[in-house]
Symmetry: C2
Subunit: 229 residues, 2 copies
Amino acid sequence: MSYSYKYARPAVTADCVVFGLDEEDLKVLLIQRGINPFKGQWALPGGFARVGEALEETARRELEEETGLTEVFLEQLYTFSDPKRDPREHVVTVAYYALVKLSDHKVHAATDARNAAWFGVEDIPPLAFDHDLILKTAHERLRGKIRYQPIGFELLPQRFPLRMLQAVYEKILDRSLDKRNFRKKILGMGVLDELEEIETDVSHRAARLYRFNKKKYDRMAKRGFNFEI
Amino acid sequence: MSYSYKYARPAVTADCVVFGLDEEDLKVLLIQRGINPFKGQWALPGGFARVGEALEETARRELEEETGLTEVFLEQLYTFSDPKRDPREHVVTVAYYALVKLSDHKVHAATDARNAAWFGVEDIPPLAFDHDLILKTAHERLRGKIRYQPIGFELLPQRFPLRMLQAVYEKILDRSLDKRNFRKKILGMGVLDELEEIETDVSHRAARLYRFNKKKYDRMAKRGFNFEI
DNA sequence: ACAAAAGTGTTTGTTGTACACCCATGC
DNA sequence: GCATGGGTGTACAACAAACACTTTTGT
């Protein structure tokens, strides 16, 4: 069985750059390719589009199949279409980036896909295809976007101490921030709910926990409020 | 002759949202479709990708074929892949937006394509496919991007008075700006060359002309300078 | 002389930035 | 009692915003 078209068509794929954050680093999820080309090399999770499926669905489906991840924050990044980016033939790939709460998802990735692993963004092995370029583009987008969109929360558990939120920004922007100014600014925005809870299992004074209030943010955004760190 | 593939493939197209600015309005270039589907309706210029051609090339090629425009500022916007966006079959389109200096290009569009025309962004006829959505997305992108990237100059002739630059911002951001503050800010950035020339053929005091100095801007940007209006 | 737009500074309020200490808790 | 991070305020500088009049030129 095969499919015929009057004119030649490029193949279409979706690839995902999945970011997670742990105690040390900003991390990216890679899979080891089981087939040629680039068999055995590390690559971004992704795969071929099915007809009748929007590309975001393709990205989510492949992500689940290859890494077990579901229900992650996912946003389109850029479409890469250099005809030589795949040695086999012209393959257009629509790249997405995802942000996951590593605390929730660490387990899944390990169970569902033995050949998936997290790598520190500063310590990435050579990647298949043009995936270095895609990764670099995603990293730049993340750095740019985190400053004026409230996406940093996607990397944290729902309840988090301010220290962790500050660490998200410091790790992604790659510079240190002043604790007092950071708190003043983020609390001043009024998009965080102060919870009654405090941290547990820490070997020092426990910090108060906060939660991002998306509804409040959406209401404020509609009225012209601009999130910005 | 036809082309066969083991798995079904969506078709791939590139579409362009071409913005221009005249004395009155921000305008968009549309073409009237000569064939079905949507024959006779207005649509964004664009067409099918060729294998071996990067999609930006597709966009530029179709733009020239359909409207006569060449060497415009062109940047990828977003990829639209809803399987129902084309009634015939699943067509993934990679959308671009272009900025043109209407003063230079007005003529070409008229000669090379009788069925191309400029429409004010607030006065767009019903468009084919999901082109309204693409246009809306492009307009939002333009509004967002012009504030922190020096792309407004792409809509002006090389030499322009500050009044015209201010008008670019006012028309795209859709609000009025204070003349003194605007001049202070843009001149303070040091990315404009003050020319010896002044306007001609105006029925009032002629303004000094300026030119955007891209080299200076690039150098400053590399050192962390952020353009922002 | 009139119409049209060019060109120009100052004041005020707001926001960003820099900076250091005491407190609570677990070990 | 010590180590670790939690939590807090102030002063100064930089930037944004509001605002009005004189000058130049063409008709």
